[in-house]
Symmetry: D2
């Protein structure tokens, strides 16, 4: 199979670096344009402060950072690793010009005609693309990837919602510093400390989850009828967001059934055996003190693409349960999931090459 040509928006930032690290060995994609802003014309190896692994993959070091211009890029697909603020104006230039844009940015996530996709959960929402193209008179389109905390949470909720119908969710997160990008959280603020606030994070979790678990009604998404309350904290951990989750359900909870539902959960990416799809999207651990970020963040057959759920136990009454879920925020929570959306759309024929 001929590789699909990729342009990457925001190639020098931390999220962009994660895209490149994962795309370097991806059998579907080939990065053609590294698009940057402050460092156009420089060699990537000189423009970037590489922070996400030991070494920059060889193939990128001498590539020239490209200016952002939809007319000049040589790509079949555009991945966006832009920060939310920059993404709004830039991404639409590419979709208008006819490119399929798959974005990790928050800018368009909650727009009515923009799909917000977790590949194992709601690929039917991709139907929104047609509506989006009509609404906006775009030749291309934008598909978005959720917030890093949302993805781990919603992957754990989905099989439980299918089984027991969830009514309410109370979640407290303990999030890694890599979630804030680079330079991100100053060490002076987080060593020997916890910061009980992350800008806009609670709002994202509370809203995005309902859209992802919602139903496409032919025109738009009917949000899931769940109430969610999120409290977000930053902890001195490099990678891996932990979430302490309490759930109220309509049905009575049988803990073993819940574990089975989580363990057996699979989606289209597993069925299609996509390169970035982990064999088990959800790993259930039985130890009393797992998952832990440093020990378990790289779990799964595609390291970092499985979420890990542990301490599944009853809540206050028989229609409730609680657990801990861990997701690798820069892999399953960002670059990895976005790439997986791309792989899926390609296989489903939703991107023309």
């Amino acid at each position: 199979m001929k590789k699909v040509k990729v342009a990457l928006l925001g190639a020098t930032g931390m999220v962009g670096q994660n895209f490149l690290r994962m795309l370097a060995s991806n059998p579907f994609f080939e990065v053609r344009n590294l698009i940057g802003y402050t460092s156009v014309g420089k060699k990537y190896g000189e423009a970037v402060e590489w922070i996400v692994s030991q070494n920059i993959p060889e193939e990128y070091i001498d590539k020239i950072v490209f200016e952002s211009d939809p007319k000049k890029i040589d790509a079949d697909i555009v991945f966006s690793a832009l920060p939310g603020s920059a993404a709004y104006g830039v991404e639409s230039q590419y979709s208008e010009a006819g490119f399929p844009v798959i974005s990790n940015a928050s800018a368009y996530r909650m727009e009515k005609d923009v799909p917000l996709i977790v590949p194992e959960i709601n690929i039917d929402h991709l139907e929104l693309i047609k509506i989006q193209k009509k609404n906006r008179k775009w030749k291309g389109f934008i598909v978005t990837n959720p917030n890093c905390s949302t993805i781990a949470l919603v992957l754990a909720l989905k099989p439980i919602h299918d089984l027991l119908k969830i009514k309410r969710v109370f979640v407290t997160t303990m999030q890694a510093v890599s979630g804030a990008g680079y330079p991100g959280v100053p060490s002076l603020k987080i060593i020997d400390n916890v910061i009980p606030f992350i800008e806009q994070e609670e709002e994202k979790i509370e809203s995005e989850t309902l859209k992802i678990l919602g139903k496409f009604n032919g025109e738009s998404i009917d949000y899931a009828n769940i109430k969610i309350s999120a409290s977000c904290n930053r902890v001195p951990v490099i990678d891996g967001h932990m979430e302490s989750v309490y759930i109220e359900t309509e049905e009575k909870v049988n803990i073993e059934e819940v574990k089975d539902a989580l363990r057996n959960f699979k989606g289209k990416p597993q069925e299609l055996n996509l390169p970035t799809a982990p064999k088990e999207p959800i790993i259930v651990r039985e130890e009393k003190d797992r998952p832990q970020p440093r020990m378990d963040r790289l779990s799964g057959s595609v390291p970092g693409m499985s979420i890990v759920v542990g301490r599944i136990r009853r809540g206050i009454d028989e229609k409730s349960l609680k657990f801990i879920v861990l997701g690798h925020n820069t892999i399953r929570g960002a670059a990895g999931s976005t790439i997986l959306i791309g792989e899926l759309m390609l296989k489903l024929g939703l991107i023309e090459v």
Copy 2:
């Protein structure tokens, strides 16, 4: 005033060290007997691996570690800094022999005839002492101090419960490593990590809170009719337990009224102006990202004796609220609160000298 003579059980452990650090400058108490186990007969300065502050207070360095023997100690009151496991058998020897024992250990906390006291909240529970002495035919008695996470939580709950009647509480803790004593949590387990489990901690929070907020009915305590679910985590922080709290109430919540209730909360210790009583038991912060353990754990007029509440905001509906509370686990959560019980009982004439 002549100082009251103190014997300290468990003097060489980390909790014992915190007692000694605080008692060194206490105007009510004078430590006579440092009771240890493995190091009887040694000088304290040689027996202890001092870990809680820069230097051992001078006065203890040459004191000889004393054996545990109720017949030999020279004390008006016994403070216990024993671990839960050891406390059961040892503390009763002292109460049987006629000593007032004020214990930070968990052993007797939930016994029906043993008061579990937060000095600002439930001093009427001290009435249980009479029943205890009768039941057990003890000349002395045991009064207990709650778990470190419980104290911070229940101090925040009390004024809200008085105002709005609390129905349910969902709490996720992020606890400091000093809560596990010394040597406690291995660094190999907690650097760049979170451990989502602390032995017996959730059970303690869920049960002790109900007893403390309960009512003395003349014979025993009627537990508060509140449902609590706790999820406990260890984070790489030296001191200061953070708790993310979600509360459902019977009454509608007015956030400003809640803040006022917390800010204005006072108890007998403040009224009596006790040496270890902070002027404000509860400090409310308005910043979007406070309290934080490293910044705020030593808050208050008696450093570490005030809890700090922040991010007070509405929950899912109008009969709910959520916030973060921080308490210094080894001061307000252990030695400091236990000493404050002693000061209070002394002033109230409940301890004979």
Copy 3:
């Protein structure tokens, strides 16, 4: 005594915050002008991201951030907390206009006619002021405070140099993140890590030390005839620079004599009993594993103003020794020492009020 009026350059940065924290309770000085750049006209409490202690001292919260203009300030003395880059141009405006400028910045430290002062070591270097004023035709003058690592090192070297004549010094530092200011070192770079490089730090240690230990020859400073090699590392510590020091001497080393020389070391600030002068500039610890940053950084009668030396022991041969020295980088290493220079010059009549 009427308080001396102070203008502070760089008031909103982390070093500036440390100045303000220490000046808030200083009996000699009163801060009149908080000089900032990006936030002129705002209230200080709104302009600053306060990071150095729990709360901004009350008195500064509503003060208006002042523009940098030597004609407008109301001050007897100017303290500079500017970064090195900005200091060069700005500080000279104030000295030219007649102000005594005492600066923590690196800009002028190594200029021939500018005194680089550690108050306990080389106050005779203040004679350079006359030469400086003549050379530069300034009505005022600039006096500088050394680099944070240099101060701790040179305080430990001075009594040893007087005793044994030092020939060579090999020093490896382990420096706290607060040394990089705010935001400074990203947490993503330093959690579970060591960074073996700090821009220009080795050069500063290697050169400044020789100037401070040098002799004023009536015209300029003859640098000390010592060879120094420094290797600098950043470690995940909030405050407190550790330095592992190996020294070769001309005389044979007697370890007990070295300890005595360090313990008995005093300077003019101690003689004059200045408010920011610690009773013991150097504390010697005998334990095998001290000093440690978290335990010992606030040592001394003025917390953070004493350095702590430990593990003093023989080197490879009898004309060598090695030890660990710890200095609080933002107190003794920056704001505290600079303020102490001010106090000293005031008492010595070198600043007109």
Copy 4:
């Protein structure tokens, strides 16, 4: 090739776990006996508190922990992961009984007739085995692996010593907490801290290095004529020991020649292409701020088996140089190197199977 049968002494400790993790995929060896002490008869998966990676390799989970008895084991070779204290008595039982014992413990390292081996450096020292067997009338023998800090240091010194003849070495280490085993360093002692002391570590570095770089004279080892001074510190890092090294040489230093010598350094393990031998034993980095433990500890073709040297630069004079070296303390510094000795001896026919 039929796999060689291994018995592992100290299988449940942290070093033992690292052996098992690495041996699980080793083509030469097959672990037959997991020898423990407190947990004999239990399944390994229940006996161990697994700490070194995400999961225990499947093959060990149900293996029964075996008692230590040379008569009962089914092995061709014995690896020892015992702590130094226990190793002395136990290891000799196995060597006496005829087993080749390759030990990571310190017990026998400095005995005159015991080889202390770094496989790339001094395999000729294995000649000592004959003398050892004669001296001790053992049917088997003991070969030892150096201290974790020593290995990284001596690998960096060897090519430089060959090139320039080293006279003196001043080294300050910054060592990871995993070097202390499990539970090892309490988190309460090391978060936001540095501990400037590691029991017996400086002595080990100063003596072992000279033995390894020494020459076999037909009877014993003539120690290298180098003077070494070590100062050892513990830092809050999980894995990877950093060492700040200053070297005085007899010859003038040419930095580029030094880099070439390090880069081109190879030994018998590379020549024989052994499974645990990294292609490059020494990786030289040119960035100004590398190596760093978290970024570089898993460097090399066999992750963790290459040391990384950076910041190679001139010292005080032209016959000196300095640099930073990083070695993965539990891989190259312990289990990995010990296994590599085993592979090498097997290939060289020094172990009969």
